[in-house]
Symmetry: D2
Subunit: 345 residues, 4 copies
Amino acid sequence: MNVAIVGVTGYSGTVLYSLLVNHPQVTQINLYGHTNEGENGDVRYLDELIAGYHGQHVPLQAFDPEKIMADNDVVFFATSSGVSSQLAGPFIKAKFPVIDLSGDYRLPDPATYEKWYHKPAADAADLAQATYSLADFYAEKTNYIANPGCYATATLLGLAPMVQQDLIDPDSIIVDAKSGTSGAGKSLSQLTHFTEENDNLQLYQLNKHKHIPEVVQQLHQWNNQVNAIQFSTTLLPLTTGLMASIYAKVKSGVTQESLMAAFNTVYADHPFVHVMDGETPSLKQVVGTNNCDLGVVYNPVTHTVMVISVIDNLIKGAAGQAVQNFNHLFNFNETTGLPTLPVFA
Amino acid sequence: MNVAIVGVTGYSGTVLYSLLVNHPQVTQINLYGHTNEGENGDVRYLDELIAGYHGQHVPLQAFDPEKIMADNDVVFFATSSGVSSQLAGPFIKAKFPVIDLSGDYRLPDPATYEKWYHKPAADAADLAQATYSLADFYAEKTNYIANPGCYATATLLGLAPMVQQDLIDPDSIIVDAKSGTSGAGKSLSQLTHFTEENDNLQLYQLNKHKHIPEVVQQLHQWNNQVNAIQFSTTLLPLTTGLMASIYAKVKSGVTQESLMAAFNTVYADHPFVHVMDGETPSLKQVVGTNNCDLGVVYNPVTHTVMVISVIDNLIKGAAGQAVQNFNHLFNFNETTGLPTLPVFA
Amino acid sequence: MNVAIVGVTGYSGTVLYSLLVNHPQVTQINLYGHTNEGENGDVRYLDELIAGYHGQHVPLQAFDPEKIMADNDVVFFATSSGVSSQLAGPFIKAKFPVIDLSGDYRLPDPATYEKWYHKPAADAADLAQATYSLADFYAEKTNYIANPGCYATATLLGLAPMVQQDLIDPDSIIVDAKSGTSGAGKSLSQLTHFTEENDNLQLYQLNKHKHIPEVVQQLHQWNNQVNAIQFSTTLLPLTTGLMASIYAKVKSGVTQESLMAAFNTVYADHPFVHVMDGETPSLKQVVGTNNCDLGVVYNPVTHTVMVISVIDNLIKGAAGQAVQNFNHLFNFNETTGLPTLPVFA
Amino acid sequence: MNVAIVGVTGYSGTVLYSLLVNHPQVTQINLYGHTNEGENGDVRYLDELIAGYHGQHVPLQAFDPEKIMADNDVVFFATSSGVSSQLAGPFIKAKFPVIDLSGDYRLPDPATYEKWYHKPAADAADLAQATYSLADFYAEKTNYIANPGCYATATLLGLAPMVQQDLIDPDSIIVDAKSGTSGAGKSLSQLTHFTEENDNLQLYQLNKHKHIPEVVQQLHQWNNQVNAIQFSTTLLPLTTGLMASIYAKVKSGVTQESLMAAFNTVYADHPFVHVMDGETPSLKQVVGTNNCDLGVVYNPVTHTVMVISVIDNLIKGAAGQAVQNFNHLFNFNETTGLPTLPVFA
């Protein structure tokens, strides 16, 4: 297959490229930049843009929907929120397969999008064509896959069994999530200035994070008793990795054993999700992989369950999950081309 | 005054020395090691034990209670839990002033101590002479001050106004606490091996951390409706600093304004505690100080308040608070000799 | 004394404030911003600009040379290179005491300045009034002190005894210097973006670093055989601290003993410089102090001496040395108000 | 092919496993522990020993040379120095293919080994059977490959063109090398205690590092004028990655152009070595790869060339190079199974 990437120079885009270049079903990767990319003869090549990408002498081509659809079987948007919605229209209208890593098509309701993103929403008719697709719960064939956000992925995978099986008080969910700085992207900011962030913890967007509505929307779909979550995000002094520390009051009669039964049942045939019983994973044990490792620990004194959910925010939380959705979409084995052993043993 | 330090080579002990050496009321600091310290003529000096301590050519003397009491006005134990209880007896019996940074005299009930510490408790009669003293709520004159633990300090200061004024559901308290590695001390462990901990988050002692009972005991004393808390500790890839992320459901009618009124009232005359309204402090803004900075943010959607409490775990969480208790004990100004401006602007 | 700081919001300026606020000879610190600072009634206060600076409710005043000289006994410029030279003229003409942390007056020759700084040099007549003053070798009373750069300080202190006493081949000096990111200042850049710099080493300005000419100029003044050095700078994944690894071929007959004799003689009465014989200091043993720790190790196989020189780049390499120069200038004890024990034992 | 790994639980061994498990020519990987491994029925499995190694349910078998040779086509020793020499004898005598990541067979002269390693050397007859094999300069078929050390690899690749083509003064070589902590292994030590190493630089084994003799031996073989190097190693506050900063005086007439001609010629057909002209690589641009990136910068003022050589110390500096040697040994394509794109773009 020929695949297109729009936005390869962002962190997610580059990781996506590195996964697809090793994917056995991918014949060629074509890269696209902005509309005038390379027009004046000043062509940019991937190996000149990304340090250490020796031999990847692939040009960035101008963004031209017709040409992209002619030359490729699928397009990945690794563009920022607010950008995808300006580029995707022609693909949607043509029912061309798209996997979009941005947030632009995750929320079907334009008003909700605009409330949380503070940007104009995508066209409502286009939004109706998109499917929010948590890859480990991939359900329906769709032309436009809205790939979930990193925080949403870790949170949803940690909560799914308990919410789906109605094991917790729906008003009691608290998520204390922490992420490495790569999730904040390449744009410079005081928050991610090394001197400020090293040896530090900084919260941001408390009660206002863009991933809250997509989490609530999915949880509500699983269990309509869930209408809100308490959710905080803290920037960690590390590059890659995300931990969601999830707390909830359990319903009467729930025990460590019944919790584990639920997790083990739900994730029985999910190759990327691993559950620890009464123990907690470290963040680093998933970095470099498409895994989500979960630790489930019930405290009978407080009737509270804590679930630790860890992922690589750029792989499972972005590019890896996009490839997993790509595998589903084209009926490849779900695990094809995806790493499962952590780097730096 | 002449002051004694037992256990100067641990991280807390060294920081304690560095504070006392600049304390205007301290004339001389005497250091003590183990019982046979220096006996065979092999005297150890502080400047040879701690890198960069040029000019601090102070010998470690043998541990001899009679001599310590004869030569000093007060003794600080910066020893590990399980050690203080073996050393402190003679001082308690003599009603000599002691400030103990360890956990050995924080829990009056020997059975509770043994349950959480997995070590023999101190003598029950001795325990009855000790006072748990959160320095910002210093209450009564006492000969034996049990200085609180680092996690307990951040948690209690973050919860005090809400618990004292009965603003939160007593069964809903969740504390997601994170600390730099210096809190784990100088002993080598796989958890604190650089290659394991760098770029990582690791939980430890979930629902079993030694600081849980001292927190619950103090909260219960403030409000007898509080009998338990959900409490987790995560090791951060940084050296110094501690953040407690505290969540609780508020009682009916409580708002951001009423929460702030409580915090501002309770901490009106507390020089080391600073409260932010609707914003959150970064961990690093207190490192190097005896401050506790608090951020209070109410979420009306979930009826949940989040309080972020940050301290320097070695200063406010150990040595600095010990000096603050020392200032109280001897009627010096509470702030004497204690740093309030963060290092590394 | 009343002291003025221009540029308090930069890292060096804030550290300078934190030192002067504890300096026993300083009565009042006045802060100055740009020319129109506070003019429209929108006064900025230090405690609102720097996180954690509770209680430091000091306003930034408009930059007005006449008023600064009327209200103060000395002015510190903690401004960037290229800025000081635009502000300092009136003070030089009035022979008012200035301590300038920038590079603008370190090089007497305007052409040399412009070659290395790529900016217009200060007025030549003004330059002639300034004195480059490595504080540990403070020599002459002067109205305008050009405080050395951080890399220059570590390098010069490491080389001084060997160059002054002609112990090394003057053409063989190689300095492999490494610094934490705070030396690069508050300005955002890709180099200091956390995601890029964490877990990384990046060289910058190889053979072009601005501190090269001030080092060579001072070495040449000590020993006119020295006309050049090989000098590299590497950005470290840490906030504060600088290590200069210095190599040189020794002259015939030089040994570890004769090297140590030179270092011990030269630094006999220098309270901030400490020399280790055959061992090397760690970077962290000086962080938080105004010390420079040196390790001297001769290798008889290669006839090469390695000197490790470590400093806190913001204290000894900037603000602390400025206070040390201030102490010299006003005949206070050289060590007044300067920290000597490292933070985070 | 069936391959054996002895010592899989060390960092190098685990990385080796992760490479071989994806190697298309490897059918099965057998793991071996100590002699009594699993004897009492208490079998250890890889997925229980290494966090995140889900699905790698491979048992550690007892170390039995006969059985290892019967069941495998090659054995990798990822054991510590001092261990390999006690295990390798039977394989050498049987002329069975061995790739040894330890230092035990790198130095043909037992006396030299004992001087630098402070341990008994391997049997002299066995030593004579081993070949030191820098994989990018793989020369001769051999049964026993002594895989180079991490520091040696970066240093030799950075120096090879200049030493082979006699471009530098053989007495002027200075290597200021820095490595992440994973190079120091899993054993706990104060040096690698997180609280000590974070935000720090620590030199170790100055002029005494074990890799010095293997570097000198190889350089001398390339150019018998080279008999010594000045070599220092500094521990970096990061996990993985190694930078050797190499300095040398050039011979008369050598220029940037002639240096580049040499590097480009020597490395023309070396797929893992990339040379930058007048620029320097960052450490992180090779982490996760088997690459060695070199930057060559000549300074005409000091007649000194600086070469920056960066590698992943666990891949190129250990396990990856071992696989590269394995590919050579069995006539596979040199690049088979080896990663070339850095992780964490």
